[in-house]
């Protein structure tokens, strides 16, 4: 088991945002967390990557307990988080953004190799290499954020709403690349509001409702569940 989350509780002040959620991601899997706005999907990812403190619960990654580890330490273990809203470094160029993605890699040749790898998936970024991150279009920023997340060669990548605000063509493109990343051996934990797309690429999925996991199963099972169909797939 690559990632094991047990009984996670997170509070924002008095608000009980995560009320004891447990799930796991296995090596090579794409796992989706689906749910409505405010269900706690992003909070879950932020807790995993160390950006917010847990009240209780435990997180084990590659057999190591990372519950209390700081964010910059967790990255070095091989977990990469592409945050919600892309969070591109606007005053940095595309190249510098990618360099920051590879911050933990010391070997120059390795960084260049990863940059080439990212450019193969996202040729648009190569054309914009010296442009400031803040001047990119929304789709390009999403590509840059995803590319940046891949630069440190993660074993597990957490993707938060990679399709948000993108045109249908770009959504297709992003999901094609998600599958491609996974095929090369990176496990993926995907948070999406676009449940249909997410389920179509995932192996397994969890449904999150107001801080609780209400449903778990293979992507097919979830997609055929009548309640999910009604609430998230709009069928």
């Amino acid at each position: 088991m690559l990632l094991e989350v047990k009984d996670l509780h997170v509070y924002y002040g008095a608000i009980h945002a995560l009320q004891g959620i447990s799930f796991e991601v296995n090596q090579g899997e794409i796992v989706s967390l689906i749910g409505a706005n405010g269900a706690g999907k992003s909070t879950t990812l932020r807790a995993l990557s160390g950006l917010i403190r847990l009240r209780s619960g435990s997180i084990t990654f590659k057999g190591e307990n990372i519950t209390l580890a700081p964010a910059d330490k967790i990255v070095t273990l091989g977990m990469s988080h592409v945050p919600e809203g892309r969070k591109i470094f606007a005053p940095l160029t595309v190249r510098e953004n990618l360099e920051m993605g590879a911050y933990i890699i010391k070997d120059r040749a390795e960084i260049d190799r990863m940059t080439e790898r990212v450019f193969r998936s996202f040729p648009r970024l190569k054309e914009r290499i010296n442009q400031l991150g803040g001047t990119l279009s929304g789709g390009e920023q999403q590509m840059l954020a995803t590319g940046r997340g891949l630069m440190n060669k993660p074993t597990l990548i957490l993707l938060d709403e990679p399709s948000m605000g993108l045109s249908p063509i770009l959504v297709e493109e992003i999901f094609r690349i998600i599958k491609e990343i996974n095929a090369e051996g990176t496990s993926i934990l995907l948070v999406e509001q676009n449940a249909q797309m997410a389920l179509s690429v995932s192996h397994r999925a969890y449904v999150l409702e107001t801080g609780l996991i209400t449903l778990a199963g293979t992507a097919k099972e979830i997609a055929s569940n009548p309640q999910v169909k009604e609430a998230y797939l709009g069928i």
Binding site: L51, D72, T76, P83, F89, M100, Y103
Partner: protein, 374 residues
């Protein structure tokens, strides 16, 4: 934040305020024209004296630039006006004083290598003194950051600001103690001899007891050293911030700390590093200031510190080229005011500039208005 946005609501009705603002602007323009007139009159009357004043202003401005860089960098990364920065500058001057007076650090090359040329010897000696001052100031600044500012990083900004003023007072009044630096003016022994030249039909060395011909502009090796050292420091900083990994990480951290942490950047280390760089420049400034104006005292950092702060605001706080340009303007304003208006007025002018900048363009010359984060 909220009160600011309220304040920025456009006022549609004609109020007495707009009339007052108009008078204010009119007076400012009048004042500016008056200043221009005084300057132009003196430039035409005695061009060589004017050039001399500009040169003196440059010397001051370059030292201010070294201090202002620290203000602006620290502000850029933690949004804190580090008022203790001027006192770090003072500590730099004192460290170099003790290194010269008590350790004789400036003559070590001559002692260790007796055959060395005096020129090379004093260059190496002076660099050693500066390096020692830098190391001590870097350690001091990093300690200040860890002890006083880091615990307040998530507190409201005003808390850290008040703490910075507190740290500044602590350094000043601790230094004033009799057994620390005391309250005396201490005459500073330079690590090298001053050599002066005058410009009048070419450059000539000034000999002792011989008057320079009228209309000459004089300058010294100290002036040259200050310009060269500051320009090198500025180039180094530009290289650091633009080209190195830690420099890019500084910019990333300054823009968005949580996301920087997701990249694996140790934000605490980057912040310490920024304080360290700022302190190293302040130390360099302190040593050069003491060499240029060789009388030091515990409160010597107060005015240069405040003026460098004004320079940073004038240039646009957070902007490195801004700090440099702002400092040069401050140096000129001070030198020209002291010469053509009155010496005590120079401090008043410095702070008038602060008020005018805050009234007319609070973001400074190179600053961009702070945008609300989405």
């Amino acid at each position: 934040m909220q009160s600011v946005s309220k304040h920025q609501k456009p006022i549609t009705i004609v109020s007495p305020n707009s009339f007052l603002a108009w008078i204010g602007k009119f007076l400012l323009i009048l004042l500016g024209l008056l200043a221009l007139y005084v300057l132009a009159k003196n430039l035409i009357a005695k061009p060589s004296l004017f050039a001399q004043n500009v040169l003196d202003g440059l010397k001051l401005g370059f030292v201010y630039a070294l201090i202002a860089l620290g203000y602006t960098m620290v502000y850029g990364i933690v949004k804190l006006i580090n008022f203790a920065h001027g006192d770090v500058f003072m500590v730099g001057a004192f460290v170099s004083y003790f290194a010269i007076e008590n350790l004789g650090l400036h003559v070590w090359p001559m002692v260790v290598f007796p055959n060395i040329t005096p020129m090379l010897g004093s260059i190496l000696g002076t660099i050693s003194v500066i390096l020692l001052a830098m190391v001590i100031c870097v350690l001091l600044a990093i300690t200040i950051e860890r002890v006083a500012y880091k615990p307040l990083r998530d507190a409201p900004r005003i808390a850290a600001l008040i703490t910075a003023i507190g740290v500044s007072f602590f350094l000043e009044y601790f230094g004033l103690l009799q057994f620390v630096f005391s309250a005396r003016f201490i005459s500073y022994k330079r690590p090298f001899e001053e050599v002066t030249w005058y410009i009048n039909d070419g450059i000539h060395a000034i000999e002792k007891g011989v008057a320079t011909p009228p209309g000459s502009i004089t300058f010294s090796n100290i002036f040259v050293i200050i310009i060269v050292a500051t320009v090198l420091a500025q180039i180094f900083l530009q290289y650091l911030v633009r080209k190195t990994k830690i420099g890019i990480a500084m910019r990333a951290t300054s823009f968005d700390k949580p996301t920087a942490r997701l990249m694996g950047i140790n934000v605490d280390q980057v912040i310490s590093f920024t304080f360290g760089i700022g302190a190293a420049f302040a130390a360099l400034g302190g040593v050069l200031f003491a060499i240029a104006y060789p009388s030091i005292r515990t409160l010597m950092g107060v005015y240069p510190g405040l003026k460098a702060f004004v320079a940073a605001v004038l240039g646009g706080i957070g902007s490195i080229p801004g700090a440099f340009v702002g400092a040069l303007i401050m140096g000129q304003a001070e030198s020209l005011t002291a010469s053509y208006i009155s010496t005590p007025m120079r401090d008043a002018i410095a702070f008038s500039i602060l008020i005018i900048v805050l009234l007319i363009r609070p973001t400074g010359i190179f600053g961009e208005p702070e945008k609300e984060k989405a």
